[in-house]
Symmetry: C2
Subunit: 251 residues, 2 copies
């Protein structure tokens, strides 16, 4: 199984519009430091699943027939906004799996075009060609699922964003399931009070310590966390990596 981080940014992204902090200035000068909307591509054999659809150039990145399915973590605009354009295309329908959310986002349900929405249920695995995904409830301001993803070789990866901490059943599932690695929401540097909706570094490291996988990729990174990383000679435990747009993991 191969995972490509197509986007590792929070809703505002890096550079943040109007911000002149050193992280944003660097990203404006050098595209390697940009962070686009949080998105990952998971591939196994000829199965290609897009996790979230916040990139606005999906029609250019993914020619018709190149995606087995899109799987959404939740319906906030930065995770679904690329569907507003894609849906009007013609040809074969694209399955879009999502948490149960009666609202969705804007008029996506009403005018679904070639998108075929399919509702998932928590902890009920779905098989998409070569991959089995188990939806794991997260803690966010809208119904949100992370995903435990297993390929036919038994390789295991989890994708856990957007969330602030983990619900007890999700934590218990992951402790038992033991993924080799996972991607984890880490939007903020350490905060003085408990953050809402997203992990700060303190919460993210606590989750990493509890679950103790071989590798944790921090994603959904905001400019303040990038700035903090620039200004602090923080040494992460060996298994913690801050993901960048374009990073590829072979699980």
């Amino acid at each position: 199984m191969r995972v490509t981080f197509l986007g590792t940014g929070d809703a505002g992204g890096v550079p943040l519009y109007g911000c002149d902090c050193s992280a944003c200035t660097r990203a404006r000068a050098d595209a390697d430091f940009r962070r686009r909307p949080c998105t990952a591509l998971v591939e196994a054999g000829d199965t290609r699943i897009l996790l979230d659809a916040g990139l606005t150039d999906l029609t250019e990145r993914f020619p018709p027939g190149s995606l087995s399915a899109i799987v959404l973590t939740h319906f906030h605009p930065d995770h679904v906004q690329g569907l507003f354009h894609l849906r009007w295309g013609i040809g074969k329908n694209i399955p879009v799996y999502s948490p149960p959310d009666s609202e969705g986002c804007a008029d996506l349900y009403k005018n679904h075009g070639l998108l075929e929405f399919r509702r998932l249920s928590k902890f009920e695995p779905v098989t998409i060609n070569n991959l089995v995904l188990t939806p794991l409830p997260l803690i966010h301001s809208k119904a949100t699922f992370g995903y435990a993803i297993e390929d036919t070789d038994g390789q295991r990866f989890a994708y856990l964003t957007d969330t602030a901490g983990l619900p007890p059943r999700t934590e218990a599932f992951l402790k038992n399931w033991r993924p080799a690695s996972f991607a984890l929401d880490c939007s903020y540097p350490p905060q003085s009070s408990l953050p809402r909706n997203h992990n700060d570094l303190t919460l993210a490291l606590a989750i990493a310590e509890t679950l103790a996988p071989a590798k944790v990729w921090l994603t959904h990174v905001g400019h303040e966390f990038d700035l903090w990383l620039n200004n602090n000679s923080h040494v992460f435990p060996r298994q913690i990596v801050v993901a960048c747009d374009g990073d590829v993991i072979d699980v």
Copy 2:
């Protein structure tokens, strides 16, 4: 007053995802034939107003402070989707004028960030620096305003999309107001039955004939209309022009 058509496409744009018609194939091969989400920039002196915000790269096109205001025709995603990202920026608020629409689009009102939404009322002019805009109700599936726009020299331009026909009071206003030129929704080639929500060429030409301005720019063009234009040696009256992305009018 200068008007730049930044986007002249319908919601699906040209090329349409998955479509291999000759209009879409041409646009895929040659970016000059692409049609992005329908958007115009109106400039007069140092006043710069963006009409609609469906372009998804607004943060790159318009550095902080470069827009006097954004004015929305309505809250369909292809007219507002660029705001989802822009709003999270920092710095000076950006005024966003719109028709009264209690829903808006997705969570734009709730999480408005640096956008400062201001509701307009039909036929009640608003002055934005060097320009006076009068909101004109249109006929669409969501509350939609066209705009009669006048600069300090008395030059007059109207922007009339999205609409299928014109309401009587809007038509009467425009007959009396006599803009030198206007942009007009023309999404489809001639249809066999009366189109809904958008003009076809038949409706657009009828409006042009009734109001008889010096120039009409057809916009919000779908791929079927481009295909029809390729396949039909249609001769337009001299005052009718099909707008292209990047076209500039000096009114």
